[in-house]
Amino acid sequence: MSAQPTAFDAPLIELSGVTKSYGSGSASMQALRGVDLTIHQGEFVAIMGASGSGKSTIMNIIGCLDTPTTGSYRFKGIAVEQLDRNQRAQLRRYELGFVFQGFNLLSRTSALENVELPLIYRGLPNAERRQLALNALATVGLNGWASHTPSELSGGQQQRVAIARAIVTQPAVLLADEPTGNLDSARSVEVMEMITRFNQESGITVVMVTHEPDMAAFASRVVHFHDGLVASDKRQAGVAS
């Protein structure tokens, strides 16, 4: 599968004129003020920008966790803002994998059970689910850690469990909000190499928020946000390519 989009590909993600407002009246503020962004199958996009510039907000919208106040979002041509809660849940279940900034693993739950969770919602049979989850854990280098709970794992290990949970379903898109935010630079590079591998080997489209230019360097495209708007959008040769 090619990591390079061609002009004829239908866009996977198509945001046009997306705004997002919070609050109402004088207390109201606009987190997004008209974002146009198109991402094709197989791209590796890094989103950068100052704190409060709307990066997490756009990630939540792309991840179908939130809906735009105005504007439209098409995922694989589907108008997401017209879907109801359950239909958006289906999109998250079958198309998207999320890696959250704060890991967001279930506490007092083993790494294996955490990774199995999305497969449970997909309704996979027991044995297959277990095997896939163990494979995913092996992919992120956590062989032998399956029965450990998050409190028994280091930050880097927890982040890798979170990544395993996001990719275990082979989603169309991997969304990662500051996946290296809590890690030292050596661990960060490990995680980035892993994400790059998914992008290149499995053709998973990656959208990643990061503050660090070193991490953004892994991406094939860097989008800068400023004050709720796209300030710049540059293609580059990813570090690994």
Binding site: N86, F98, P118
Partner: protein
């Protein structure tokens, strides 16, 4: 999907064993209380019925005097032996008529003495009461006719006066008269009212009248109806006959009383049934309280687990899956509590029943009802917290600390 949801719920319960146990404690206690109350109540009802029917089947007891209240009798002339013979002659469908006269007395053997109830009886007594001698023999016809100084003692009197030695063949003293013990009755144990039925001495009615009472009075006539004969009809017939014999004016009240033991049985077993129902209802309230306990914990756990719910939704859980998970958790918890309660109740009521020497009667119906009720408690009290969880906004839930 249901199976997966149950799996998730079970994992959650296993993760919080102690809290889960405390959550269901209310249900455990409620279910156990209901089952124990109803099981023991059923046992007591059966025991009361058994004890009364051990008095003799189809028994009617005729006493002089108006019934004033429990145990109280207003002064009225006693019966005579002729009344008993008239009843035996005139009333159809009787199996036996047993006139008797009693008095509390002290009986003496050697240097032992014992206060007991001494009764003069006829040979029908044994069949009417459905009671037999265990050792020795009953009175023979000539002893009954002539008023011989012979007696039969109850099991209690046997032990109190003779210990392990047999009473039969010995002479005991009753005031002025010495009387030979010719038999010992079978032990009957306590009556429903708690009196010792074995604490008595029996002698021929004629002996009692001549040597002890010094009159020809009869204090009580016990009558047994033949099998299949309506005791209500016998009761009415006896009332009519005695009304006539005792020359009672047409519109005044009878100065005697005919009690049908069947009615008393019915009355007493009804009373215990009502009591059982009442206790069961009180116990059911504790089940309800247990349900509210579950709701409380589930609500707390929804707040506590808001972030978890957010994660599940972000991963793709739908509203009804979250709802179902919480609901299944509540149902599994409460029915699990119900099961523990059932086991506890069966062991408990078995132990209590044998301690109170009440029969243990397994009541499958109440066990089933209690179980279904506990599951229903899970549904009803689990629904509100589950809906609360399902309605959470995923982003808000993820932000929750």
């Amino acid at each position: 999907m249901i199976w997966n949801t149950i799996l998730l719920a079970l994992r959650e319960i296993r993760r919080n064993v102690l809290r889960s146990f405390l959550t269901v404690l209310g249900i455990v206690i409620g279910v156990a209380a209901v089952i124990i109350m109803v099981t023991l109540g059923g046992g007591v009802t059966v025991k009361v019925g058994d004890q009364i029917s051990s008095l003799g089947s189809n028994l009617l007891i005729i006493t002089p005097g108006k019934r004033m209240g429990p145990g109280q009798v207003s002064g009225a002339g006693p019966f005579k032996i002729e009344d008993a013979t008239a009843i035996a002659r005139e009333i159809p469908g009787l199996a036996g008529v047993a006139p008797m006269s009693s008095r509390a007395m002290t009986v003496v053997f050697g240097n032992q003495n014992w206060s007991t109830m001494v009764s003069g009886i006829t040979d029908d007594y044994f069949s009417v009461r459905g009671w037999a001698v265990q050792s020795g023999r009953e009175f023979n016809a000539s002893e009954l006719r002539s008023g011989a100084a012979v007696c039969i003692v109850g099991a209690t009197v046997q032990t109190k006066l003779f210990g392990n030695q047999t009473a039969v063949g010995n002479r005991i003293r009753l005031q002025k008269i010495a009387c030979e013990v010719i038999g010992v009755m079978e032990a009957k144990g306590q009556s429903t009212m708690g009196t010792d039925q074995d604490d008595l001495v029996l002698m021929p009615l004629r002996t009692f009248q001549r040597r002890i009472a010094g009159n020809t009075d009869v204090n009580m006539i016990q009558v047994s109806a033949q099998k299949g004969v309506s005791t209500e009809k016998v009761q009415r017939d006896i009332e009519r006959l005695l009304h006539e014999l005792r020359h009672i004016p047409a519109n005044s009240e009878n100065d005697f009383n005919v009690m049908d033991m069947k009615e008393i049985t019915k009355m007493l077993t009804n009373t215990t049934k009502v009591l059982t129902g009442l206790l069961g209802a009180v116990a059911a309230v504790s089940l309800l309280v247990g349900g509210i306990g579950i709701m409380n914990i589930m609500l707390v756990s929804v707040t506590e687990r808001t972030r978890e719910i957010g994660i599940r939704m972000a991963i793709g859980a739908m509203e009804r899956e979250v709802l179902l998970q919480f609901l299944v958790e509540a149902i599994v918890l409460s029915s699990f509590g119900g099961l523990i309660g059932i086991v506890l109740a069966l062991v408990g009521s078995f132990a209590i029943a044998s301690a109170l020497s009440v029969p243990f009667i397994f009541n499958a119906q109440i066990v089933l009802i209690a179980f279904l009720f506990s599951a229903a408690v899970g549904v009803i009290f689990g629904y509100f917290p589950a809906r609360k969880a399902a309605r959470l906004d995923p982003i808000e839930a993820l932000r929750h600390e």
